[in-house]
Amino acid sequence: MNICVLTKQVPDTDSSIRINDLSDDIVLDGLKMIMNPYDEYAVEEAVKTCQSIPGSKSTVMTLGEGSSKSILITSLAMGMDEAVRIEDPGGEEDCYKTAIILSRVLGEMDFDLIFVGKSAFDDNASSVGALVAEFLGVPYVSNVVKFEITGDDSLKIHREKESGADVVCVSLPCVISCEKGLNRPRYPKLMKLMKANKKNIPVRSIDSLGFTDVEINGFEKTKTLGLITPPCRPPGKMLEGEPEEVISELFRELREVVKVV
């Protein structure tokens, strides 16, 4: 089985995210960059699936700038076989554009299964996986929390939704987005990281994919007008003291002032 994982580099979710002076991007200086957390489930699932099916091969791919090589190294250390980086052409970050570039490279490969993360921490679009599936003409299932290969070329999948889960059947090849709960991603061991670091990771340029600049611009369907920080909540009341008194006051406020109950 040929398995591919798409992963993206994003700021660590613990970091403080600030907007730049032009209000058109965030301040990247000093931010620790990591693999998008949901993509860890994707890598883990790919590695596990490959281990269970002899003769399988896994490839991890990212569209990003030079520094995003580090998430590919992490993926290799977690057990992925091959890695590819596609050089980010710059310009507006847009899911349509990202997906069309990724699917061009995927189209050159022979794959059975593509894993993506449920959503990227930075753009929160949950769109790239579905778009890639569309451009490749294969089915897509999102929010996968359980997954089982049934027969030669079909999968039985649990897709988590708001009120529970659907059990979904799908045939290969397909694209699957990974939700928390699918597995417990392993931590890459230091030795493996060092080994992965030495591995040559091929870089694909946009030119080598045969896109013209005009085409690339045409794939940018959205334009960011500006960023804002959501308004802070006004300061509240700190209630301290004897439990009975404190709760009496809270109870009164909830009933009379807030009127929520």
Binding site: D14, D122, I157, T222, L239, V258, V260
Partner: protein
């Protein structure tokens, strides 16, 4: 000239979902700025008038009914095929749908199929100078981004649930009903085999009151305290990721970046420190109460009422107060 706007209707437990009605609100709001013909698409199997009657009381112009066995459950392949076939025939300008799990599959798939742009998970959407413009949360809600859809052809957007209100219904029905034929899905797709429902409990994203517990609850059994309080208040029980990772609560109930985003009238956080990944899931709640031993815990800084103390002492007293008040004591 009037532009056609479509809203896609999803059902939940065989009823039109609240999110789908909220999308109609968003459409009507937009209709104040430009001349819109608002139409809803309702696809299902063995449809009777009762199933879509609610749509006729929203003051919209038309409802398209598509009755086919492929639409008994959500079927992404059939749905996108149907809508793109219809789009070719009717040329809508805008397609809106809820950004729930199904909408988040359908909206980008359609955008790829129709070679057009998408605004995903919008909390506000408007029409300006011939373009669609939205506000959408990025970085898990820590930043809001204003984005413009800069493309020709039909414009697609998904609307985050529970931000827009459910529209007020109108008594007089002026909505037309049009039946559309669909011949069945031919391609390869993902098909629902069985539907699994939640193992009891309310969907926290729909609850008006949430009592949530974290690591400070110390065990699964102790959540009974929160269940008691939630039941009295007609609310649901939520959890932090630590509580879910401990196996005390199901992932369905997790609030935050890797869980659900909730906006109840009242959120009571018990033994939750308020890590930023938790806060982004609940900081738009109307009123926040935090009960924590540590006055410096981050949750205490955003709470409307920050109660310093031991939750195992505080919660039973609060529950007792509500119980007395319910029973008129």
């Amino acid at each position: 000239m009037s532009q056609r706007l479509w809203t896609i209707v999803f059902t939940k437990d065989d009823k039109i979902s609240r999110e789908s009605l909220e999308v109609i609100s968003a459409a009507k709001q937009m209709g104040k700025d430009i001349d819109l013909t608002i139409e809803a698409i309702f696809a299902g199997h063995k449809i009777s008038v009762e199933d879509y009657r609610e749509l006729l009381h929203q003051g919209i112009d038309r409802v398209y009914i598509i009755d086919h066995k492929d639409f008994r459950d959500f079927n992404l392949g059939a749905m996108k095929e149907l809508i793109s076939e219809m789009a070719e025939k009717y040329s809508p300008s805008i397609i809106l749908m809820p950004a729930n799990v199904y909408g988040k599959e359908l909206a980008p798939s359609l955008s790829g199929m129709l070679k057009t742009g998408l605004l995903a998970d919008c909390i506000e959407i408007r029409h300006r100078d011939g373009f669609l413009e939205c506000t959408r949360p990025i970085y898990a809600g820590r930043i809001l981004s204003k984005v413009k859809l800069d493309c020709d052809g039909v414009k697609i957007a998904s609307i985050r649930p529970h931000v827009y209100p459910v529209p007020e219904t109108v008594d007089e029905v002026t909505t037309e009903v049009e039946i559309v034929q669909y011949n069945g899905f031919s391609g390869a797709g993902a098909v629902i085999r069985e539907i699994q429902e939640t193992l009891g409990g309310m969907d926290i994203s729909e609850a008006n009151i949430i009592v949530s517990g974290g690591k400070g609850m110390k065990s699964a059994e102790n959540f009974a305290l929160l269940e008691d309080l939630a039941r009295l208040l007609g609310g649901a029980v939520g959890a932090s990721r630590s509580a879910v990772d401990e196996g005390w609560r199901p992932h369905h109930d997790q609030v935050g970046q890797t869980g659900k985003v909730v906006m109840p009238d009242l959120y009571i956080a018990c033994g939750i420190s308020g890590a930023v990944q938790h806060l982004v899931g609940m900081n738009r709640s109307k009123c926040i109460v935090a009960i924590n031993k540590d006055p410096d815990a981050p949750i205490m800084k955003i709470a409307d009422y920050a109660i310093v103390g031991d939750l195992f002492e505080m919660i039973p007293i609060l529950t007792e107060k509500f119980r007395k008040c319910r029973t008129g004591g």
